[in-house]
């Protein structure tokens, strides 16, 4: 546990996909942060990290969104999100501003405070009191940005090792891109499809019954493919398992009554 007795003030970066598609990931993240002794708030002025604009070459829009996000998270000791990709984007903000632009220093400051959830729990909070249980053989997909931009590799595995009854089996090419790539999947759908087909084949070969990952974009892509192919493999975000919030049907499997809260 962190040495300080005062609760750490953490701002949750929800991410637009979690907000829209799978709120339970947000609530699971809050639960984990609170178990680790953090005081979690959700700034209302956050929207998206700006990646769609950034990766489409629209620098001006990206800067506007970066400034908005920097302001939204002013005053929090840490900014934590359930996505290596979006937190990685927050780390890119500084590059958007010239050296003499005051926003650059603010962006650098945000970068030092911004962490992906499994990395935050492990590297910052030294937290591993995972009390959940999950029956099943799982495999873990290393999403690219988390892995290569933020060095997220051992942290999720270390935490999963604490989950009762869970067995982790590594698939082939766990570090290979699933083909999502944000707008890539709709700009080059056939290539993206081949990449996600390779991924689903490796998931199947691993013999796992559950596929876990740390980025909802990749998970929607892989779950969508696995479902289209008729596989009976569950896809979930790692925080759902760590927080013991797996009552909710897996991604792409929900059957909610319209208008009922989850």
């Amino acid at each position: 546990m962190h040495a300080s007795k005062k609760p750490m003030k953490v701002g949750l970066f929800v991410t637009c996909l979690v907000d829209m598609f799978r709120p339970s990931i947000g609530f699971a993240t809050i639960k984990l942060l609170e178990s680790a002794g953090c005081e979690v708030s959700v700034p209302e002025t956050q929207t998206c990290c700006g990646q769609p604009a950034f990766n489409s070459g629209d620098k001006k829009t990206t800067q506007q969104i970066a400034r908005q996000t920097i302001e939204a998270f002013d005053g929090y000791e840490y900014v934590v999100g359930p996505s290596g990709s979006c937190i990685g984007m927050l780390h890119h903000y500084a590059d958007l501003f010239d050296n003499n632009d005051p926003w650059r220093a603010r962006a650098e400051n945000l970068k030092n405070r911004a962490f992906e959830i499994t990395s935050f729990l492990t590297d910052v909070m030294d937290f591993d009191s995972i009390l959940s249980s999950y029956e099943g053989k799982v495999t873990y997909h290393d999403s690219c940005a988390g892995l290569r931009e933020l060095g997220v590799k051992q942290q999720p595995r270390k935490l999963l090792a604490k989950v009762a009854n869970l067995s982790l089996t590594e698939m082939e090419d766990a570090e290979t891109c699933c083909g999502f790539g944000g707008t890539f999947c709709v700009k080059y759908p056939e290539i993206s499809n081949r990449m996600v087909e390779n991924k689903s084949a490796n998931v199947e070969l691993s013999g796992a019954t559950t596929l876990l990952g740390g980025d909802l974009g990749c998970l929607l892509n892989m779950a969508g493919k696995l479902k289209r192919q008729g596989h009976n493999i569950e896809t979930r975000h790692i925080v759902e398992v760590l927080a013991g919030m797996t009552d909710e049907p897996a991604i792409g499997e929900a059957a909610y009554e319209l208008g009922q809260p989850a």
Binding site: P23, G26, Y188, K225
Partner: protein, 468 residues
């Protein structure tokens, strides 16, 4: 080589369904990356060498003029000639002029991507000089009227059967599918060509400023025969290949072989230092170095300068999931894969090459294996910025981003949009939890289901939880 980069999408679509190509690409995937990782694991100081090489390349690029002039002075001192060529056309003309001067009818050629870049073979042929490729892969491609699809394994897109087929057709010998027999056949065919050529053309992996030497690395030894047997040796290469000293060169050789093929050292490392001297037993009488710029000097001092660190090892394409899916020909010009997606727009223009820097998920695998740490995703993104600022991006992209940005910049309105889209998707999904078809989103739903939102948006649920 003709430019087909604007057809990237059509070509990749065909490539994805080409059974033979896919078989060849699966061999690539099981080969180079595995060998590289074994070689790297055996060398504890590999990461440190990458840092050293990156820093050294940066230093060279800051002082490119100085090292190139030192190189030139030493080539001249050794009795050779250096020709500075700004454009591919300048380079082709100069090479033809040298060939005509010695009344050359045939030239043998070692593998050179710069010669592909300047389209040298076509030019020589049109002007009555017959170029003969001597690298086995290039030789096969020449017989087929084909082009390289990879910068170090040019015929990687072919399978044994393809080689067997074309040898049988062109060599008029009994068909064989024994690699050893095919190799022997190629040797016999090429031997007389080596002996009969007046000029030998090779590329260069590095140019050594302190000695005026050029070096090529090969695994077949064909380069040695190409450059020592004919009377005239022409080295066609590009300006960023210069390194200060022989010792610096060895740093790059150690990284190059391991990054490329996973070898600790390439089999043949052949240095050329001027023409034959009195007392030398062999070597050419004339030694020419044709230095090609072709847009490189314009990259110096820009955000693309880092690309000039590239030592052409091919690790980026060997590890690229997009290259691995569609192969090199889909990229439609000389340099494929991530390095090509940065270099090609510089050489043929972003107007023609715009699809290439977009054909990446920015997974970052290329950067993670690059021996000189070129931030390839960042540079591809720079091209996208260039494209966007010149209004070259497709309208659908510009409008899509514009519409989305309008809301993303206004958190209040954004909540309305996310709440209504969330509701819309849940209505579409009904009780199924996923959607099979969404109008206007065929890019997604043609290939995979769209998981439906599992409830109201996080923000609205969070708000009501806080209020209760």
């Amino acid at each position: 080589m003709e430019i087909h980069s604007p057809e990237f999408k059509e070509k990749s679509r065909i490539a994805l369904h080409d059974v033979n190509l896919q078989k060849a690409l699966s061999n690539l995937k099981a080969g180079f990356p595995v060998k590289r990782s074994t070689a790297v694991a055996r060398m504890p100081e590999f990461e440190q060498l990458r840092d050293e090489a990156t820093a050294l390349k940066n230093h060279i690029l800051e002082n490119l003029d100085i090292y190139l002039e030192q190189f030139e002075a030493n080539v001249i001192k050794n009795g050779g000639h250096v020709h500075w060529c700004r454009t591919p056309d300048d380079a082709c003309k100069k090479i033809l002029e040298i060939c005509k001067d010695v009344d050359s009818k045939t030239v043998t050629k070692g593998k050179s991507m710069v010669s592909e870049e300047i389209n040298l073979n076509d030019y020589l042929q049109k002007n009555g000089v017959e170029p003969i490729e001597t690298d086995l892969g290039e030789y096969i491609l020449q017989l087929r009227g084909d082009h390289p699809s990879h910068i170090i394994a040019p015929a990687i897109h072919l399978n044994l059967e393809d080689v067997s087929e074309i040898f049988h057709e062109k060599h008029k010998r009994p068909k064989s599918s024994d690699p050893a027999v095919l190799m022997q056949e190629a040797r016999e065919m090429l031997r007389e060509k080596f002996a009969g050529a007046d000029v030998g053309i090779t590329g260069a992996n590095f140019l050594v400023a302190e000695t005026g030497s050029t070096i090529i690395v090969t695994n077949e030894g064909n380069g040695d025969l190409t450059q020592t047997l004919p009377k005239t040796h022409i080295v066609v290469t590009s300006i960023e290949k210069v390194v200060p000293t022989l010792e610096d060169m060895t740093l790059f050789l150690r990284l190059l072989a391991r990054s490329a093929t996973g070898q600790e050292f390439t089999v043949y490392n052949t240095l050329s230092t001027g023409p034959r001297r009195t007392g030398d037993q062999d070597g050419p009488e004339n030694f020419h170095v044709v230095l090609v710029d072709n847009g490189r000097s314009e990259m110096v001092g820009t955000e693309f300068q880092e690309m000039l660190r590239c030592i052409r090892c091919s690790a980026c394409m060997n590890h690229c999931p997009v290259y691995g899916a569609v192969g090199g020909h889909s990229y439609g010009w000389v340099y494929p894969g991530p390095m090509g997606s940065v270099l090609t727009p510089q050489m043929i223009g972003i107007e023609q090459a715009g699809l290439l820097p977009n054909a990446s998920t920015f997974c970052g695998k290329c950067e993670s294996v690059c021996p000189v740490r070129i931030p390839l995703p960042k540079l591809m993104r720079h091209w996208r910025e260039d494209e966007f600022s010149k209004h070259l991006s497709p309208k659908a992209v510009r409008w899509g981003i514009g519409g989305w940005a309008f809301f993303a910049k206004r958190p209040g309105l954004y909540r309305l949009l996310s709440t209504s889209s969330n509701l819309f998707l849940r209505v579409m999904a009904g009780k199924k939890g996923r959607i099979k078809k969404i109008p206007m989103a065929g890019g997604w739903t043609d290939w995979r289901d769209m998981p439906a939102p599992s409830g109201k948006t996080f923000m609205s649920q969070y708000k009501s939880r806080k209020q209760s």
